[in-house]
Symmetry: C2
């Protein structure tokens, strides 16, 4: 409802990375899985991880438990996770053969995720929205080119800036795969999808237009052509004032605001869209009266307009689970 443009009071709530290491039941599940990718690709366990926070907190949205690197995995890339160090992929160099997008191979490799979606869809209460997601092409490309996480994104930028035509081929391939991936999630039961462009904010404006905005527009257009009723949430993290252009140009229905976005400005600059955000996840670590006040500040700043309460970034592992309950209670208790 909120994602279709209705102002609800209190606003619906879900949290990025609500299924995760801060929950003891997740840690127990994780301990029984092999690697992180094994967990993502085990439909029973991934469905269980998706449902754990819903059981505990009854959020209004359940975000599929998976990873943004499932798309390169689906393309045949060897995606691993090193404990405490994040993802590790074979770095892709300019001029190397790109992974092919073969629809049937991709569908087979990503089939476990679709089974997770179906399992969750069958188990969720009707009032809880099942949200699918994918990483945006630029962000996914940074992991593929750098071979993992990065601070400066030097290799990716050098490729994108120095050989844009060949980088475009990589981005186009990711657009194609992402459309297939998100459409399959919708067919399996996702009721909305979010596109995570976690590293949109490292791009200067022209590059942001080409590598963040344009691929998002292409993905949204293809998705809307096949599934017109499914809301799409865009999350160009760190895009600063550029987020308004992203909101206007991509065709997304909703924009997820990172922690830094001023709310009065966002209301004004993106008045046509549903907004989502943007509690600093560190507030969920701190808790207390300060957390209550910050939740109320955000809720009040978004009062009377379509809004989904969320974080500006994912829940961190050190979060005491009771603070998540507290934030939701404050939000729902508040003066409407």
């Amino acid at each position: 409802m909120a994602l279709r443009g209705t102002a609800l009071s209190p606003p619906p709530v879900w949290f990025m990375r609500q299924a995760g290491r801060y929950l003891p039941e997740y840690r127990a599940l994780r301990a029984r899985a092999g690697g992180f990718m094994d967990l993502c690709l085990d439909p029973r366990k991934a469905a269980e991880a998706t449902l754990q926070p819903i059981r505990r907190y009854a959020m209004d949205g359940a975000i599929l438990f998976a990873d943004i690197l499932i798309v390169p995995y689906g393309l045949g890339v060897d995606v691993g996770f090193r404990e405490g160090e994040g993802p590790a992929l074979p770095p892709l160099h300019p001029g190397e053969r790109l992974p092919d997008f073969a629809p049937d191979v991709f569908a087979r490799r990503t089939a476990p995720v679709m089974e997770t979606v179906r399992t969750v869809a069958a188990a969720l209460p009707a009032s809880t929205t099942l949200i699918g997601f994918a990483g945006a092409p630029w962000t996914v490309a940074t992991y593929m080119v750098e071979g993992g996480s990065s601070r400066e994104f030097s290799a990716t930028k050098r490729w994108a800036y120095g050989a844009p035509d060949s980088f475009q081929v990589l981005i186009d391939r990711l657009v194609e795969a992402t459309v297939a991936y998100l459409c399959a999630q919708v067919v399996a039961g996702a009721e909305a999808v979010q596109l995570f462009d976690s590293w949109a904010g490292v791009l200067p404006e022209e590059a942001f237009r080409r590598w963040s905005v344009a691929p998002a527009r292409a993905i949204v257009a293809a998705l809307k052509a096949r599934h017109p009723g499914v809301p799409v949430i865009g999350f160009p993290r760190g895009a600063g004032a550029g987020i308004a252009e992203y909101a206007a140009a991509t065709g997304v229905d909703a924009i997820s605001l990172d922690t830094s976005v001023p709310l009065a400005w966002a209301r004004h600059a993106m008045s046509e869209l549903v907004l989502q955000g943007n509690l600093d996840p560190q507030w969920l670590v701190v808790g207390g009266d300060g957390l209550d006040a910050e939740v109320a500040r955000i809720r009040d700043a978004m009062r009377g307009r379509p809004f989904v309460f969320n974080l500006g970034h994912g829940i961190v592992p050190e979060t005491p689970p009771e603070n998540v309950a507290r934030a939701i209670a404050v939000l729902r208790r508040g003066n409407g």
Copy 2:
């Protein structure tokens, strides 16, 4: 001139971290110094580092070679740098005794930096502006509290959010020391100063107002009271749309734009101020026609208004020195 509000054509140019590891003459100098702090505190060597890029490229601005952690060093903190790992300080915990600001001790410990400023001022051509700088209190506090660099700034945020009154004492102390430090630089010969708030962008809006905007306002007011004619450049990196509030509320004369800031928006949102920026330093690695086009794009977007050409972030060590020359030549050659 440009920093006083005159539109110059071509615009003046300097680059953040223009004195640094990408220059072979800097690496030679660095090899003869002890640790990085030893280099910062050796007036002859630090002056030499400041002047090296000016000799090579004749930038219009010379930025003092020093470090943003000189302020905690001046307060008596044991600041070290581990090779390849960045700064290492004893982490400051909430409730611990804060370092005192004793003006005479601080002045004595930071005296080498003032000697550097005097040495550079005597050596610089009159047409080159000597720019002093300091780290902003929030950013400096993050290094003091985390004990070095950070990705999540968890400890600093927990203190700032959970015990704001005691964190305010730390920030106030840093404001006081920063004012003394910048005033001393001006007395020694700095003609403008820049306040680097490198981590302003990790704060939600209320915290940004309190920990980034308010301290900058206090520093600018104190500096202007004593040295009214000295332009102050603010650099709230990553502040997104919040940069406009920073520009309006702090009293700075100029705003340095990080790489992500869209230029047409910046012109409109900060029409009263001098703007500076915002070439992605990775363009200086890539070079070629693309670099030329990006330099021209930024120059043209800022045509006819007070502007200083710069980067959106510091020069990276992998930068081929000839690309710096190329960017400056394109800028100065351009159509006016």
